[in-house]
């Protein structure tokens, strides 16, 4: 099953399971969604529960917040994470804060789904990765599924959760296939990282698509450098399964963090701080970060390709924890 189909299955199952679940977003109904995640759902569940909206992100999310406060479980789709900046007021000032502002009397069980990621020559306004922005905000849960199974399991958990969830999908991953349990009760709990590959020499934390990039790099590192990498996919950034990462670092004594977003204030910057606070005496090398380039995403294909991490950068960073760069 493809990642997008897994998401579609999660939405369908949860809508069947709970009549309070409804979808809102641009082109999600008649057009089946910009990335076809909501395909078929309008026909199945009707216009009351699958609502096409105008191009007005702050309003769509605001409607979601209001619906969630009344007891519904809305899932809002934004066409890309880049457009979510238009809805920052609703996401940060309202969705994330309302439960606190109302002293816990109101819940906001809202899911905001949106894809991110570079590589399609869509320029800076469509290609950025902003998990770090949402990780920054207390009150939001942040999911970054990499595999089809996790996409399904995490989305089902997100819909059932009483907290607002920022659910970050990846444009490149929509077409990726993977085994997905068709059990309707299958969910993936937030705050549980997945160890994608076991290894003894270095821990690589890969966020979203970068978990796949890291896995490919791990193969080369093993074959050509004799370095066995342990690949950890955190799956959710908040809550973060820091224990799994620390346990791995205590075993390998080295950590490389790979993310598509910008370096300053990034997920890796934050994680590096947490790890050095708690495992300083277990580190045998400085923590390395592999991040997107510190520039707005270029349109030019070659420039875009070197502006986000690929295997060679991961391999270089890992090797640099063992010896001098040539």
């Amino acid at each position: 099953m493809r990642y997008r189909e897994a998401l579609n299955a999660a939405l369908r199952e949860e809508m069947e399971r709970d009549p309070d679940v409804l979808l809102m977003g641009e082109d999600i109904g008649v057009f089946n969604g910009a990335f076809k995640v909501t395909a078929g759902l309008l026909d199945e569940f009707g216009e009351r529960r699958v609502r096409d909206t105008p191009i007005s992100e702050n309003t769509i999310v605001g409607m979601g917040v209001g619906a969630a406060m009344t007891g519904l479980r809305p899932v809002v789709e934004l066409m890309t994470i880049n457009f979510s900046l238009l809805a920052m007021d609703q996401i940060v000032n309202h969705a994330a804060s309302i439960r606190y502002m109302f002293g816990g009397q109101v819940k906001v069980p809202l899911v905001v789904r949106m894809p991110q990621g570079a590589g399609h020559q869509l320029g800076p306004t469509h290609s950025h990765s902003w998990e770090a922005l949402y990780l920054h905000v207390p009150g939001l849960l942040v999911a970054v599924p990499t595999t089809a199974a996790d996409a399904k399991g995490l989305l089902k958990s997100a819909i059932r959760d009483d907290n607002p969830v920022v659910f970050i999908e990846h444009e490149y991953l929509y077409g990726q296939r993977g085994e997905v349990p068709d059990d309707e009760d299958f969910t993936v709990r937030f705050g549980e990282a997945a160890i994608r590959r076991e290894g003894s020499d270095v821990t690589i934390v890969g966020i979203s698509r970068m978990a796949l990039t890291a896995a490919r790099a791990a193969k080369t590192l093993s074959e050509e450098h004799g370095i066995e990498s342990e690949i950890i996919d955190p799956r959710t950034l908040r809550p973060l399964d820091l224990d799994t990462i620390l346990t791995s670092v205590r075993k390998t004594n080295r950590l490389v963090i790979v993310e598509e977003g910008w370096p300053h204030g990034g997920v890796g910057a934050n994680l590096a701080a947490l790890v050095q606070e708690q495992a300083f005496d277990d580190l045998d090398a400085p923590i390395q970060r592999v991040t997107g380039a510190d520039v707005p995403m270029p349109y030019s294909k070659p420039l875009e390709q070197i502006a986000f991490p690929h295997e060679p950068q991961v391999i270089d960073a890992v090797v640099a924890t063992f010896k001098d760069r040539p």
Binding site: N253, D281, D282, L283, D284, A285, T321, D324
Partner: protein, 455 residues
């Protein structure tokens, strides 16, 4: 050519004695090979070469030299590179060679041959590799050692001096594997006491340093005196240190002693119970160490020093445990003894005593004590007075534990396990009443030892 200098092997080291060269003059030496055994004020350490080359010995075995003095040279094929590493800016020519091909102003395709020396005649296709850090400078390194946090922790745990470990990580950083390597060849496994008499016969004074022995030089200098033949032994550095410190203690510290009998029945019962639980049961001495440590918490001056007209009170409670070693007495330290469990103390003192016996104990393990426990009970000594280990405030001397007749509560005679302990105190910092209370606290803790087991 690389100069090898007397390394600094401990914080307090000012000079060292070359006990024995492990390589002969003219031998080829590889980096990391043991070069010499060097005795410091605290221990005997094997010094490994930081560079490769042919050894030219300058200082003979037996010589005592201040740190930094040249003890040998290493000559050889890679001599140039080692020297370049030691003094990166000393040799201008190689730099120019390296730099020339990169200079954009150099005419046309740079010809390295043009200015290279004859040895570089094999038509280099590409500019030479950038100068790589060759062997690290010989001897001790200056300044902060570059080591990973993990390597630092492991070095602490192994009692290794980072100054002596060669780093192989990026930029010469000392990493875990370097420590593991160094731990496999501990720098201290000292000579398993040179057995032979022959070399002991040479008198250092008469033969210079020629056959200088590793063990204390011994010589028969006078025969047929009224006392028979006189054998003179030079002191090892450790023996010299003991002599100096003990004399200093007796001469400068106004000492008074307090003695008490401790009812050890409860400790005997506790030990039996711990033994029944399996594993290594703590010894009575471990219990004394723990009780002292807990009592020291309540009596900060007992955990201090009188120094230069002031009291120094220490934040950590580090109890030294006197251990007899070959021809010496050393006091390895149980750091933070108040915060360690009985079993931890037991395990640690056992390991330390073993390291003392095998002479593998390292200077960091012998320093930092704030109080000392000395036990001669195992020799059947009923009680004794120990000499304060300056600048500490006190030392506790522990006698033999035995069943003795005691007058019981109802006036009848009963057999109880008792033990005599003697606290020697520096009266400049620890006064009679304080010391008595401190000692009473130790006794109370040992007579009701549950606190020892549970804190």
């Amino acid at each position: 050519m690389t100069e090898i200098v007397m390394p600094r092997l401990s914080d307090s080291m000012e000079e060292g004695t070359i006990l024995k060269w492990l390589k002969a003059d003219g031998d080829a030496v590889a980096r990391g090979e043991p070069l010499a055994e060097i005795e410091t004020d605290k221990a005997t350490l094997t010094y490994e070469s930081d560079a490769a080359g042919v050894l030219k010995i300058v200082a003979e075995a037996g010589d005592t030299l201040p740190i930094g003095s040249v003890i040998a040279h290493l000559d050889g094929d890679d001599g140039a590179s080692t020297k370049a590493a030691a003094k990166p800016e000393a040799e201008p020519q190689p730099d120019e060679e390296q730099a020339a091909p990169a200079q954009p102003t150099t005419e046309a395709p740079p010809q390295p041959d043009a200015q290279a020396d004859p040895s570089a005649d094999s038509a280099p296709a590409t500019p030479a590799e950038p100068p790589r850090p060759a062997a690290p400078p010989a001897g001790r390194r200056e300044g902060r050692v570059k080591a990973s946090p993990l390597a630092r922790r492991l070095a602490r745990e192994h009692g290794l001096d980072l100054q002596l470990v060669t780093g192989t990580g990026p930029g010469g950083r000392i990493v875990k594997s370097d420590i593991e390597q160094a731990a496999k060849h501990p720098p201290a496994p000292a000579p398993a006491e040179t057995p032979a008499a022959p070399e002991a016969a040479a008198a250092p004074a008469s033969t210079g340093a020629a056959a200088a022995p590793a063990s204390p030089p011994t010589a028969v200098t006078e025969t047929g005196t009224a006392k028979g033949d006189v054998t003179v032994q030079e002191l090892t550095r450790v023996q010299g240190l003991i002599a100096r410190r003990m004399a200093e203690s007796r001469a400068t510290i106004p000492t008074f002693e307090l003695r008490t009998e401790i009812d050890m029945d409860a400790c005997v019962a506790l030990r039996a119970e711990l033994k029944a639980l399996g594993g290594d049961a703590p010894s009575y001495n471990d219990m004394v160490v723990k009780a002292s440590a807990l009592a020291l918490r309540e009596f900060p001056r007992a955990n201090g020093s009188y120094r230069d007209g002031r009291f120094e009170l220490y934040g950590r409670i580090n109890v030294g445990v006197a251990v007899a070693a070959t021809d010496a007495l050393v006091v390895p330290t149980v750091f933070d003894a108040d915060r360690k469990s009985l079993r931890e103390i037991a395990r640690e003192t056992r390991a330390l005593a073993e390291r003392v016996r095998t002479q593998a104990v390292t200077p960091p393990e012998l320093s930092g004590g704030t109080f000392t426990v000395s036990n001669l009970g195992m020799y059947g000594v009923t009680d004794f007075t120990a000499v304060i280990n300056p600048p500490q405030a006190a030392i506790l001397a522990v006698g033999a534990l035995a069943r003795r007749a005691v007058v019981g509560d109802d006036g009848e005679l009963v057999a109880r396990h008792t033990m005599s302990v003697t606290l020697a105190c520096d009266h400049r910092i620890l006064y009679g009443a304080d010391a008595a209370e401190f000692l009473a606290r130790i006794r109370a803790l040992l007579e009701r030892p549950l606190a020892l087991a549970f804190s």
